[in-house]
């Protein structure tokens, strides 16, 4: 018995596998650790409520604590910082108010996606939260292309915890009441006792929740205080992947890459209205033309009939003709069926289109559906 397909965890060619601030904490909670993005990371936890499906369901129903300290926390500041970031990304950062955040993408000169990230205006600085596997390239890219007068700091002294799920606000609110005031995509500085935190109401599961930047030396105490509450349990990378897949959110290096662009990746919402009018981001002409004319291929969501999962690399067919490829997929615990994301030629991308996916010589019937697969339940401002 051996794996025939990639596991969630990947081994990168990094010089050494490093340990995160909560390494011992994860092991004490029964985590199975795997190498991911250059770090030892918990993929799932032991115990009756452990395992990917149980952890996934717990997050949808209660509150799950994720350690995402492998991600890069970068701050940039200086005169003209918003405009400098706008030269590298298609977001309208000049108009982004303090305490607000946006999803964006670092683009190369061809419009390829170097990384996707969250950008927060933290008042005196912008904070970028980037993918763990790409953070060193991102830092290199930013240093190369940001003007010299912009200061860049990589905060490896900070851990990053995510608390996700419908009971997150109640749980975190007991420690930090100010979080109750935040709505989706807002952030604030806050104190937990004498520990300074930066908290955003955001995440990558489709649920309400928070990401909490905490000094590494206080991360264990904060994790302990959170899981001491009945509604909070630690959740591994495995469930993080199944949750984000159901939420229709792309995973960098799989669903998006340098070979995909914001329009084909169905992420054009991240190209702000003003930037569509004024351009000025990398490959703006190419991207805006593609936006106007429609892309040749497009990222779509697929519901698969039966129980067999289709994973990254599986070919997608319309009749006898291959029209695309799966970029990530697996069993969706909340839906109770396999789902997939992939790219197909645009003429086959319409909702309801019947396609087939080849898995181990079998053709699985699949239907294009609107993403997210599971509705988002973000805490938005009431009208």
């Amino acid at each position: 018995m051996t794996d025939t397909e990639n596991e969630v965890a990947e081994t990168f060619e990094e010089p050494a596998i490093e340990k995160l601030p909560l390494d011992a904490w994860h092991r004490a909670h029964g985590a199975r650790m795997v190498p991911f993005a250059g770090y030892e990371m918990p993929i799932q936890y032991a115990g009756p409520l452990g395992g990917i499906i149980a952890e996934h369901n717990w997050t949808r129903e209660s509150a799950g604590l994720f350690d995402v300290s492998h991600m890069g926390q970068i701050s940039v500041s200086g005169d003209g910082v918003a405009e400098a970031l706008e030269a590298l990304m298609p977001g309208d950062f000049s108009a982004l108010k303090p305490g607000r955040m946006r999803y964006s993408m670092l683009l190369d000169e061809h419009g390829g996606i170097l990384d996707d990230l969250m950008v927060t205006n933290a008042g005196d600085r912008f904070v970028l939260v980037v993918n763990g596997a790409t953070k060193w390239e991102d830092i290199g890219h930013l240093r190369e292309y940001l003007p010299d007068e912009i200061t860049l700091n990589y905060h490896d002294e900070q851990a990053l915890l995510a608390l996700q799920g419908p009971k997150s606000a109640d749980a975190l609110g007991r420690l930090v009441p100010a979080v109750q005031e935040l709505v989706f995509m807002q952030g604030t500085e806050a104190m937990w006792g004498d520990v300074p935190l930066y908290i955003t109401r955001s995440g990558y599961t489709g649920e309400d929740g928070f990401e909490i930047s905490v000094p590494a030396e206080s991360a264990t105490a904060l994790a302990d205080a959170l899981v001491a509450m009945d509604e909070v349990k630690p959740i591994g990378l495995g469930a993080r992947d199944s949750l984000r897949l159901e939420a229709g959110l792309p995973l960098y290096g799989h669903d998006i890459s340098e070979d995909t662009d914001p329009v084909s990746a169905y992420l054009a919402f991240a190209i702000s209205k003003k930037r569509r009018e004024d351009g000025g981001f990398p490959a703006a002409d190419t991207i805006l033309t593609r936006l106007a004319n429609g892309p040749d291929t497009r990222r779509i969501g697929l519901m698969i009939e039966g129980r067999m999962a289709a994973r990254e690399g599986a070919a997608i067919f319309a009749g006898n003709e291959q029209v695309g490829q799966v970029t990530s997929g697996g069993f969706a615990p909340t839906i109770g069926a396999p789902i997939a994301m992939g790219y197909v030629e645009s003429e086959h991308a319409a909702t309801g289109t019947r396609l087939a996916i080849e898995v181990r010589g079998k053709m699985l019937a699949a239907t294009v559906i609107d993403m997210p697969f599971v509705p988002h339940r973000y805490h938005r401002k009431k009208a």
Binding site: M1, T2, D3, T4, E5, N6, E7, V8, I43, Q44, G51, I52, I53, A54, G238, S242, G306, R307, M308, A309, R311, G330, F331, P333, P338, R360
Partner: protein
């Protein structure tokens, strides 16, 4: 009835000419939540070491190799509705298929329970 084990973490329980094959508790633990089992067809002729079944977990799909040659006589239809039996009862109700052995001497190269336990402890 004697049970043998492979280094690929399959077990085969042999009763006369018939062997029942599954994956071990160690294997299901490593795979995590199992969501689908692709079973061999009844009547399939299989050769020792062939990939005859695939166990799909949330994480990955894994081949199951038959420990012996022979003819598949039955697949565990209960797994179509309850693939999680491979997690909960891997070495009993979560069996995968029954095979009519064509060469009982192939069992000689397999491990007994004590040898398999020592092998797993060494991993």
């Amino acid at each position: 009835m004697t049970t043998y084990f492979t280094k690929d973490h399959e077990w085969i329980s042999v009763d006369g000419p018939m062997g029942t094959v599954g994956i071990t508790d160690y294997a299901q633990e490593q795979l995590g939540d199992i969501t689908f089992v692709e079973l061999p067809g009844e009547g399939d002729k299989v050769g020792k070491g062939d990939s005859v079944s695939v166990v799909d977990s949330v994480k990955a799909a894994s081949d199951v190799y038959t420990p012996v040659s022979g003819e598949v006589r039955e697949a565990n239809a209960a797994l179509n509705d309850e693939p999680e039996l491979v997690n909960t009862k891997p070495e009993s109700d979560g069996w995968l298929f029954k095979v009519l052995l064509s060469d009982a001497s192939e069992l000689d190269g397999l491990m007994d329970e004590a040898a398999y336990k020592a092998y797993v402890d060494s991993l």
